[in-house]
């Protein structure tokens, strides 16, 4: 009988039920879309922030104090410490290896350069050996593609990058302009006293970085290592990692943490905990957070995320009120029906149950439709803005259905409470 009453109520006035369900579905679609976008935005924006380049800098611990001005190191040649290139694949074995999206070692030295076109030696040219697009073989047998184009994504190259195993190089735009070097030219590079002209390197591209690299020549790391006489070694490592914005907890010194706090700290991808885990696998290194990149990222991410949560909250509030109002109205409207049921001997609780069952059914149908609609919208937003659609989350579905049920029940509860006080007779008389 109970089920029949519920079913009857739906078939008798389908249009009204459709309207209530539509209000519910639209409201829940807002909530779903806003929730999905908010949940996803942290990850999406974090990878967007990697267009600022590396956020971690690894240098040798025992290094002498660099006397570096404008990208030129004034230390005597061969002073300072180096790090072994062979250790690099270990970076991808740290706990947060999936968050490390790129790393690039580099070795800088001063060389003499001889463009073959001009046949004139240029002294004290800053030479940077690095990886353009390098395949790293990982200890687990996998491969990892990384290079300078990923750790410094704003660098523009006119031409192409050198191949890591060829005798090729890329010259900075200022150097090229000053010395009339073009793509396709050849340059010989040498250190110390030159007895015979070394075999030349082909210029494959002109680099514009907006920094001191514009004055330099960039060559494959292996070429720089042989020029410096430091085979298999590098001096500076840039790491680009996806991080979680730092909060007060992340700023604490890990040395002062208790065991459980330390575990929580190292299990969050804070930039400081990633730095810590890299220092663990690369002994003898100093891993520093590039504050300029990391600090701004943290505050902006936190702000944007908070902003979207506020939007979500506002959407939630409006949807809840509108849906609540709609279900309240649908109960108010049925006063005559309630009066009739009570006149026929139904108790307040039976009437309440009946209406609640109806509302719940509506809530689940409307909530379900709204969820699908919201997911489609969230996908559209994600696709349009980040090129990646947020994955539909079960958590959102549960939250949305719970909210729909809660709001409809709450919305109908207030008029129902009043309805339970009704005397059937005056209602049936239409008073």
């Amino acid at each position: 009988m109970f089920l029949r009453l519920v079913a009857d109520s739906f078939t008798r006035r389908p249009r009204r039920k459709v309207l209530t369900a539509a209000a519910l579905a639209l409201g829940m679609a807002v909530v779903t879309a806003a929730l999905s976008v908010s949940l996803d935005v942290g990850d999406r924006l974090a990878s967007e922030f990697r267009s600022l380049g590396a956020n971690l800098l690894v240098t040798p611990q025992g290094d002498s104090l660099p006397l570096e001005i404008g990208g030129v190191d004034y230390r005597p040649v061969n002073s300072g410490a180096y790090l072994p290139e062979a250790d690099l694949p270990k970076i991808k074995t740290v706990f947060w290896h999936n968050n490390i999206i790129a790393f690039t070692p580099s070795l800088e030295l001063q060389v003499g350069a001889l463009p073959l076109a001009s046949q004139k030696w240029i002294d004290k040219v800053s030479l940077i050996g690095t990886w353009a697009d390098h395949t790293v073989r990982l200890p687990d047998g996998g491969k990892f593609q990384t290079g300078i184009a990923k750790t410094s994504p704003w660098w523009q190259i006119d031409g192409r990058w050198f191949s890591d195993d060829a005798r090729e190089c890329v010259v900075g735009t200022a150097f090229a302009r000053k010395n009339y070097v073009k793509v396709g030219d050849f340059i010989s590079l040498a250190t110390g006293m030159v007895t015979k002209i070394p075999s030349p390197m082909k210029v494959t591209g002109i680099l514009s970085s907006g920094g001191p690299e514009d004055e330099s020549i960039l060559v494959p790391l292996s070429s720089a290592q042989s020029l410096a006489g430091k085979p298999g070694q590098y001096r500076k490592l840039l790491v680009s990692a996806l991080t979680k914005p730092e909060d007060d907890f992340a700023r604490r010194d890990p040395k002062t943490m208790k065991q459980d706090e330390f575990e929580r700290w190292s299990c969050s991808p804070y930039v400081s905990s990633i730095a810590y885990s890299i220092a663990q696998v690369l002994p003898g290194t100093d891993v520093r957070v590039i504050r300029r990149v990391a600090e701004g990222e943290g505050t902006i991410l936190t702000r944007v995320r908070a902003l979207l949560w506020m939007v979500t909250l506002a959407a939630l509030l409006a949807a809840a009120l509108a849906v609540g109002a709609s279900s309240a109205a649908s109960v108010i409207e049925r006063r005559t029906e309630i009066g009739l049921m009570k006149a026929l001997g139904a108790g307040s609780s039976t009437v309440g149950f009946l209406l609640a069952a109806e509302q719940l059914l509506l809530a689940f149908v409307g909530g379900g439709i709204g969820y699908s609609l919201g997911i489609i919208l969230a996908r559209l937003v994600g696709q349009k803005i980040f090129g990646v659609a947020p994955a539909p989350s079960l958590l959102v579905l549960v939250a949305v259905l719970a909210l729909a049920a809660g709001v409809t029940l709450l919305g109908s509860a207030i008029p129902l409470r009043r309805a339970s006080r009704y005397e059937p007779a005056p209602i049936l008389r239409g008073e």
Binding site: A22, V37, V323, A328
Partner: protein, 404 residues
């Protein structure tokens, strides 16, 4: 007929009044839904305008984004690779309230530490990079985190800041005093070759600045005999990507004798991130507003459909369909107005509060948002009463029989 029409109008308003007053519960429910919609509309519109501006000021956290350096080969010998002080003044003149700029003079100089914490340590001379700064707020241009800091000294000694790497290497702590000198031996203090400073803080930059000691530029200029010269001027230019481009252009025009170049790492990164954030915010807000509007409309239509009996009754006693409809439209418009006025007011306060929560600064209310939100609410309310038009075909008798 004037008396008749006055009477008519009186009757019209009387019916509207009665319609509004007849069921308090329903009016309350309608106002709640419309008000919520209006509040969210006003809050989001207000917040959206404000947030985009705030986000650009958050980009200040990245520090300087424009560097002014010497032009290649334009300097005479001796003052090679430096620029004049006037460059800084000309840069600041462009928009002194918005731009943050500081000149820096970099030199390699000898440093000795007078340890106050480790009395056993011998101070010995070591070469280090000294950066002379001209603006006390230079740390805003070079984002960092203080590792150690003390109160600035009240003595007649300039304050200085040490980078974390140089501090570790030379065992410098906050509160120490440093002697910087162009020579490594001296008999008695000579202000032309040496100067002392008080280490106010140890800063961690995570970049080349970690190897530098920051002292007031005048001290460095005096020691190096480079009065009024800087190595570079760093400028932090605020605003949206196009505003930054415009500033860079104006800087280039104002300072033709030096090399003005944006730090592409930050200007391009900022532009990318700004466009993403602003796109995200706009789309989300548009979707939320659209769906909320539709949701409120569906809810209101649901409420309006309940007036079937009233429509039937009015038609039964001879009301023309159009006049009856006008009554209900007026009711809806009045409710929309009331809901909008209350809701939009609440929404503006909501956005002020939300702005404070997110950015720490209250969002400035934009007055244009208020009438827009109210108008939108009235439109939504009228549109949601519109389906009553379908009731024009209602046959009064069947309504009263409880059919349909």
């Amino acid at each position: 007929m004037p008396a008749h029409s006055t009477q008519n109008r009186q009757m019209y308003w009387r019916i509207v009044r009665r319609l509004l007053g007849s069921n308090r519960g329903r009016v309350f429910v309608i106002l709640l839904a419309l008000g919520a919609g209006a509040a969210v509309t006003a809050a989001l519109l207000n917040l959206q305008v404000d947030a985009r501006r705030r986000i650009t000021s958050e980009f200040r956290a990245f520090g300087a984004n424009v560097i002014i350096g010497p032009r290649d080969g334009s300097q005479s010998q001796g003052v090679n690779q430096t620029i004049e002080e006037s460059v800084l003044r000309r840069a600041e003149m462009i928009d002194s309230s918005q731009l943050l700029a500081s000149g820096f003079l970099y030199v390699v100089i000898n440093v000795a530490v007078d340890h106050t914490r480790e009395p056993g340590m011998n101070s010995s001379w070591a070469p280090a990079v000294i950066a002379g700064y001209s603006n006390k707020n230079f740390l805003s241009l070079l984002p960092s985190r203080a590792i150690e800091s003390t109160e600035p000294t009240g003595w007649d000694m300039p304050n200085c800041f040490a980078g974390s790497a140089v501090a570790t290497r030379l065992h410098i702590h906050a509160g120490d005093s440093l002697t910087v000198s162009t020579v490594t031996k001296y008999e008695e203090p000579d202000p032309t070759i040496e100067s002392q400073c008080y280490v106010q803080a140890i800063e961690n930059f995570g970049s080349a600045e970690d190897n530098q000691i920051f002292i007031n530029a005048e001290v460095v200029q005096r020691l190096m005999k480079l009065p009024g010269r800087f190595s570079v001027v760093e400028v932090s230019v605020p605003g949206t990507p196009s505003q930054i481009d415009a500033y860079v252009l104006r800087l280039k025009q104002a300072i033709p004798d030096a090399d003005v170049h944006p730090l592409r790492q930050f200007t391009e990164g900022e532009a990318k991130i700004y466009n993403r954030i602003s796109g995200l915010l706009t789309t989300t807000v548009v979707i939320v507003l659209l769906l909320t509007g539709l949701c409120v409309m569906a809810a209101m239509t649901n409420v309006a459909m309940e007036r079937k009996n009233d429509v039937g009754l009015m038609k039964a006693i001879g009301g023309a369909t159009r006049r009856v409809l006008r009554l209900f439209m007026m009711e809806a418009a009045l409710l929309g107005l009331a809901g909008g006025v209350i809701g939009a007011g609440v929404g503006i306060f909501l956005s002020i509060w939300l702005g404070k929560q997110v950015f720490g600064v209250a969002a400035q209310p934009r007055l244009i948002v208020y009438p827009v939100a109210v108008a939108l609410t009235v439109i939504v309310a009228i549109l949601s009463a519109y389906p009553l038009r379908r009731l024009a075909s209602v046959r009064p008798a069947s309504v009263f029989r409880g059919e349909a």
